[in-house]
């Protein structure tokens, strides 16, 4: 470069400019080529990645939730339907300051700590971009209005509508129909992720659980083009969801309501079966709970109260409550004795009110026993042993039998087994025998065990469903039918996989069955015969009955009564009192309904449980009889 000149040199300046302009042109061209290089990188080399990205921006596959199948009772009354629930949901992608927005929403519709906790959990789960995440469920009309007014200053806030399960009859059918629950993380591991992408609830209990597959339906989807704000611009492809199947149950909601009313505030269970089909007409477990709470959102305080309650409202006593059957077991022992040839209808035993095993001091009492060893039923045959519910008769009878023979016979009635067709999670009860005792307690079978079992006490356990089923076996004179919920459906259900029919009870002759039913009729109807001559339930339910009912009461001990002491209800706290049982069926000659009533800590079977059974059967039969 030449030294700087003080006078202008036009030519050299021009040359200098030319050189500079050329240099800058070259630099500019190089920069431009750099841009071209960048474009080639983006548009050619990385095109596939960006194409994918652009399509992912644009196209959303949205699953379409199927409508859950409806559940009807035998008369077409809706037991479970779907209704729209409006929820407040947030689109995270459109919200700059989440905390500020939630604080703002809190002033409008009160967001609870639990709402927030649930929201945070849902937010963490995998979701599509721009998918709204529910913050507050089940908005009231007033809350909707408040939100609508303020909508313009709440970007990213949406009101989402979804169909949720609704149980119109609420608590009264909670244990009979079961219910759905919100899908949890554990459920997600078990459920088909594709089928359940759009589903928020899954059948967890009862019919809802057993027929989940059919009730759920098939998920659909739509491919839509959405813009940056998550708005759908056009639908590209749609496969509609297939609604779940509607099912009709044997349940009779009117009978169910009547049964629940008959039970009233008492803890207990009632199971009523259609003797001709095994269909469950009513299944009450009291106390119940409102299953709708689990759909619209239950607070942890409410939930804890349900769990902690000493009355265990979430516990389905009808299928999971296992109790000693008490005297309701006696007809089975009687039939066993007849079948095994250990006794006949004519033989009489003297009942003095107590029984002793040879070489033992322990006294086994009749219910009529007194401290002074008065009481007892006098001379009793099998018929009388049933209608008077003589303990001493059955103490004597059971000692003639091998316990494994008795257990083997009783097993034919379904004790210790799960025989229901479509009632999930039933408890099997317990039918003890020698092998069981050796395994469970490491002890041999003592004669005292047999004595207890002879009157349905000891280790023997049954559920109300099993007792109802046993009542139905007597009603059907040995023919057995599996208890079932489903009456019909529009189309065959995938879950219906017919279990083999149960064989009839073997052993008793047709005459034995008839005479046993007669004895059970005497329990209810034999009256005005004088001291120790009436059926034990007659005074309570047999005075003004217009149809023939066969029944058997039972009273199950909860705590052991010390030797030499009388059972005194007043002295025991409520939860230590005896359970009251009554099993029955009617009409005795052409049975339509069989049931079992259990009242926890209710006291006497005849005085407490029998009137409830009568009320339920009345409700079922009287209109039918009147119609005839």
């Amino acid at each position: 470069m030449s030294p700087s000149l003080s006078i202008k040199d036009s030519l050299s300046e021009r040359r200098l400019f030319g050189a500079r302009a050329s240099a800058l042109f070259v630099i500019a061209t190089v920069l431009l080529l750099g841009l071209v290089g960048r474009m080639i990188q983006l548009q050619i080399l990385q095109h596939d990645a960006y194409h994918t990205r652009s399509e992912a921006n644009r196209i959303q596959v949205q699953p379409l939730a199927p409508r859950r199948g409806l559940i009807y009772d035998r008369n077409g009354v809706l037991l479970a339907d779907n209704r729209p629930m409006l929820s407040l949901a947030l689109v995270r992608e459109r919200i700059a300051d989440l905390d500020a927005l939630i604080a703002e929403l809190d002033t409008l519709v009160a967001i609870s700590e639990e709402d927030l906790q649930g929201f945070r959990e849902r937010l963490k789960r995998r979701r599509r971009p721009f998918e709204a995440v529910a913050l507050k469920l089940n908005l009231s009309a007033r809350e909707i209005a408040t939100l609508a007014v303020n909508r313009h200053r709440l970007p990213g806030v949406e009101i989402s509508k979804q169909l949720v399960r609704h149980y119109p009859l609420g608590a009264v059918l909670a244990h009979a129909v079961g219910s759905v629950r919100r899908i949890t993380e554990q459920d997600l591991r078990r459920l088909d992720p594709i089928r359940y992408t759009a589903t928020r609830f899954v059948g967890k209990i009862g019919v809802e659980r057993f027929y989940e597959q059919s009730l759920h339906g098939e998920v659909g989807y739509q491919r839509v083009e959405t813009d940056a704000h998550g708005r759908i611009r056009q639908e590209l492809e749609k496969k509609p969801a297939v609604a779940g199947q509607n099912v009709t149950l044997h349940l009779d909601s009117r009978l169910q309501i009547a049964a629940a009313a008959a039970l009233g505030q008492r803890r207990g269970a009632i199971v009523a079966l259609d003797t001709r089909s095994g269909g469950v007409l009513a299944m009450v477990s009291n106390p119940g709970y409102d299953p709708n709470l689990f759909v619209t959102g239950i607070s942890s305080r409410q939930y804890q109260a349900l769990v902690d309650s000493r009355d265990t409202p979430l516990f389905n006593r009808a299928i999971n409550g296992q109790y000693a059957p008490g005297s309701t077991f006696k007809p089975i022992v009687g039939l066993a004795g007849l079948s095994l040839g250990m006794v006949n209808w004519e033989e009489q035993i003297e009942d003095l009110g107590w029984f002793k095993l040879p070489n033992q001091n322990r006294i086994y009492r009749d219910w009529s026993w007194r401290k002074d060893n008065s009481g007892g039923q006098g001379l009793v045959d099998l018929n009388r042993a049933i209608y008077r519910s003589s303990n001493v008769y059955f103490y004597n009878l059971v000692m003639r039998m091998d316990i494994d023979q008795l257990s083997g016979f009783a097993a034919q009635f379904g004790i210790g087994q799960r025989i229901a067709v479509d009632i999930p999670d039933t408890s099997p009860g317990l039918l003890p025998n020698r092998l069981w005792k050796q395994g469970a307690k490491g002890e041999v079978w003592y004669p005292g065990d047999s004595v207890n079992m002879g009157i349905g006490q000891g280790d023997l356990l049954v559920t109300p469903l099993q007792m109802a089923s046993i009542a139905a076996v007597f009603a059907n004179r040995g023919i057995r039918r599996r208890p079932r919920m489903l009456l019909s459906s529009d189309r065959p259900l995938v879950e219906v996989d017919p279990l083999p029919p149960l064989p009839p009870v073997e052993g008793p002759s047709a005459d034995d069955w008839e005479r046993m039913v007669d004895a059970m009729e005497d329990v209810v109807h034999r009256g005005k015969m004088g001291y120790r001559q009436n059926g034990v339930a007659w005074a309570h339910i047999g005075r003004n009955i217009s149809y023939r009912m066969a029944g058997k009461s039972g009273t199950a001990q909860v705590v052991e009564i010390k030797q030499g002491e009388e059972y005194d209800e007043e002295e025991l706290d409520e939860y230590s009192r005896k359970h009251a049982w009554f099993i029955a069926f009617a009409p005795a000659d052409d049975p339509a309904i069989a049931l079992a009533v259990l009242v926890e800590n209710g006291g006497g079977g005849s005085s407490v449980a029998a009137p409830i059974a009568r009320e339920v059967i009345d409700h079922f039969l009287l209109p039918q009889l009147a119609a005839r």
């Binding site: 400019f17 800058l24 042109f25 841009l35 071209v36 474009m39 983006l42 548009q43 652009s54 644009r58």
Partner: protein, 381 residues
């Protein structure tokens, strides 16, 4: 006038005649055609970017941009009629006036979106004095070097830097960093064209590199964020990184031939922000692909080459420096905009010249091209 008449008037050659006609109107045919092509291209893309569909309702943005481009062409036409001598004579006045206006902006300007860039004079449309400085600064520098021996000496360099620094500082204070940098860049490129020693340029680069860490602390938080985002847009995909992720996605998904005009999903579904303004090149890349981008870049290259050619052909230092600088400034716009949208530079508010929606900058640019054409067509001093 019919072709017949035209041939009668200029019997030698019709094409030569059309060209000569334009020259007589003080317009440069090649430059004019190229600019018209860019404007036309831009209007079509704007039509698409503002949500228009063929045969559909004409977007209001498109209509107002068309009007603005008409105004810009008029500005060019007017600027071309004035003799270069006029610009040289009035350069100091225009510059000083511009600086005064910039001071006024800071004192009584209108604040829009947090920066004070506009002047609202009753009876006149609202305008940005910083736009005027895009022409005034090169004019003033060209005027300053016009009668001095080149290459400039150190003292002159200092004076020139002062001329650049005053308006730049005032604009940065608004704050409008983008325009400030462009004006400073225009001034510096003029100094390079003036023949400053390469050695000094090298020193300046070293000094700038050394000062860079210090500058970092002078930047505002949002400006730092933009720079950091450049290196890792995924760090904040829904915030600062959103623009750049969506623009590169738009461009990249266009591929070689694009998704077709009006077929861009990134822009039409509003994933791409600022699609009509600063980020319109992404719409071009998406809808017309690499081919469309190359076509536009070629047009810009023609403008660059033609501008520098006109500059080199000019007889006087003032004209050479002014034309060369205006041309380079135009190119810097193009480069910075595309580099920014394609993720090579931080996001600064620089529109794509003659294509992005926005009035003032197009009018300033076309006035600049009017001056370039004036230099080309007004021969005598």
């Amino acid at each position: 006038m019919s072709n017949q008449d035209f041939v009668r008037q200029l019997p030698q050659s019709a094409s030569l005649g059309a060209s000569a006609h334009l020259v007589r109107m003080h317009l440069d045919p090649l430059l004019l055609l190229t600019l018209l092509a860019i404007i036309g291209f831009g209007l079509v893309m704007l039509y698409s970017a503002s949500g228009g569909k063929p045969g559909g309702e004409i977007p209001s943005i498109f209509t107002s941009q068309t009007v603005r481009m008409g105004l810009a062409l008029i500005a060019m036409l007017v600027a071309a009629q004035l003799h270069p001598r006029f610009y040289q004579r009035w350069a100091p006045v225009i510059y000083v006036g511009g600086v005064v206006l910039l001071v006024l902006v800071l004192l009584v300007g209108v604040k829009v979106k947090g920066s004070q860039r506009w002047l609202d004079v009753p009876g006149l449309p609202r305008f940005q004095p910083s736009e005027l400085m895009k022409l005034a600064v090169p004019m003033m520098l060209a005027w300053y070097f016009a009668d001095r021996a080149l290459p400039p000496r150190f003292k002159e360099l200092g004076a020139a830097l002062g001329i650049i620094a005053i308006p730049t500082a005032l604009i940065v204070l608004q704050p409008d960093l983008g325009t400030g940098i462009l004006i400073a860049g225009a001034g510096l490129s003029l100094i390079v064209l003036a023949g400053i020693y390469w050695r000094w340029i090298a020193y300046a680069f070293v000094a700038a590199a050394a000062a860079a860490p210090g500058l970092w602390f002078l930047l505002q938080d949002y400006q730092r964020e933009r720079i950091l985002t450049l290196f890792d847009p995924e760090s904040d995909p829904l915030g600062a990184g959103w623009n750049i992720i969506q623009s590169t996605t738009a461009i990249g998904s266009g591929g070689l031939y694009g998704k077709g005009l009006f077929g861009g999903t990134q822009s039409h579904l509003e994933f791409l922000p600022e699609a009509q303004t600063d980020f319109i090149i992404a719409v071009i890349g998406e809808e017309l692909g690499l081919v469309g981008v190359l076509a536009l870049l070629s047009l810009y290259l023609i403008v660059l080459a033609r501008g520098l050619y006109i500059a080199a052909q000019a007889r006087y230092t003032f004209q050479r420096l002014l034309v060369g600088t205006l041309t380079l400034t135009f190119f810097v716009y193009v480069f910075v905009n595309i580099a920014m949208v394609s993720g090579l530079l931080p996001v600064v508010g620089v529109p794509l010249p003659l294509v992005s929606y926005g009035g003032t900058s197009a009018i300033t640019l076309m006035a600049g091209f009017g001056i370039i054409m004036a230099v080309r067509t007004h021969r005598a001093w």
